[in-house]
Symmetry: C2
Subunit: 231 residues, 2 copies
């Protein structure tokens, strides 16, 4: 699900550079300069810049150039922006933001899921909870991560709220990052596993209250771990 072609490659250079603060707010770029720097045509530069403009990271003005806008204006929910920030110098701040967001959204999603999940959703959740238990015991971190991501994505999707559902990938990115950068215990905690199972059971049996509470414990724990790691 990437932007294709040369504009996409340009974005992969410009986006991270801006997101990391390497090209600071208020900087002014000229179109022609970008053409030369990356060896592409006006067409390509303009299309890439348009996309950045669409996520409100830059504004283009005649006789001035392409200005990097203040971070407060960026579309911080745009998956590309999130990925760029997670990959760069802004990672700690982005992780904290996402942590709070998760604490707000995931318990609510779990509660909704207990009411709205389809039978397929519930089956998938049960199955994933089992998988989590197994792969945790085998200390198979990669597989564990995959199932963990899927678990949270399913809960968010099963909530029946398209906006919650859309955060599935984002949460996935957070979990991936956490594993990649070893911000996680090498051995998944048995307590966390049990909580996932609790969430699954509560959703399957329609206990909204209980699902919400268990999920809250999970994301609160994740947030505490994060705060500990980041100081």
């Amino acid at each position: 699900m990437e932007i294709q072609g040369l504009p996409g490659r340009l974005l992969d250079e410009l986006g991270p550079a801006i997101a990391s603060g390497e090209v600071p707010e208020g900087s002014v770029l000229r179109g022609e300069e970008l053409e030369d720097r990356f060896g592409v045509s006006r067409t390509v530069v303009r299309e890439a810049v348009r996309i950045l403009e669409g996520m409100r990271m830059v504004a283009s003005r005649r006789r001035v150039g392409i200005t990097v806008l203040p971070k407060s204006l960026w579309d911080v929910f745009d998956p590309m922006v999130i990925r760029w920030r997670l990959a760069g110098a802004d990672r700690p701040a982005q992780l904290r933001s996402l942590g709070s967001l998760r604490m707000a959204v995931e318990p609510a999603a779990a509660a909704l899921a207990a009411v709205h999940a389809t039978d397929d959703d519930r089956r998938e959740l049960s199955s994933l909870a089992v998988e989590l238990t197994v792969t945790a015991r085998d200390a198979d971190l990669t597989t564990f991560l995959r199932h963990d991501i899927a678990f949270h994505a399913v809960v968010l999707r099963a909530s029946g709220n398209e906006m919650f559902a859309h955060l599935g990938d984002t949460v996935g990115a957070v979990l991936t990052g956490r594993t990649e950068y070893h911000l996680m215990p090498h051995q998944p905690e048995p307590y966390a596993i049990r909580l996932h199972r609790e969430v699954a059971d509560a959703i399957c049996s329609g206990h909204a209250e209980e699902a919400e509470q268990a999920m809250r414990t999970i994301v609160t724990g994740a947030m505490e771990e994060l705060n500990q790691q980041l100081g």
Copy 2:
């Protein structure tokens, strides 16, 4: 904060058309067709399409054309997408989604605000709470709306979480829509007013728990009203 120039105008046509389902998922547009239909050049069409591609509403493929992607892939947090959906046939669904999101986020934001708000934030909140009381009594709906929007925006900003802060405009759009389409009592409810004041007081005195609870009551009430109005 709009996209400028001809691509912007093209977007204002295409975006709502797609968001409302008038141009259904799976439809295929040809670039040349759009050039003719809107009387603009290739450049303009391509840049507009790139932006739509950036929000994952369309994908452009050689030898095929510009395909409208399924709604589940759209960047549903993009302010433009939200505005387009609120303006069109998808308004009820969008309002419901946003309602759930508010129920998840705003109480959490209020709790955080009680801890992180600056002195300026607290002053502004107090002042807005007073304004709300006054303008409600005078039945000055427009001014009331403006202050209501500001109130929620300040709480979200004062949470110190950039992602929450970013939802201020979106919540504003919801409140505006609610007033415009008369989905609201003509006279603001005294109870709701008192709750706003409670939120302000709790945040000012650092009572997170209390702020969260009062805000939850506000957004839950809004959600119930919405469900009633939409059936």
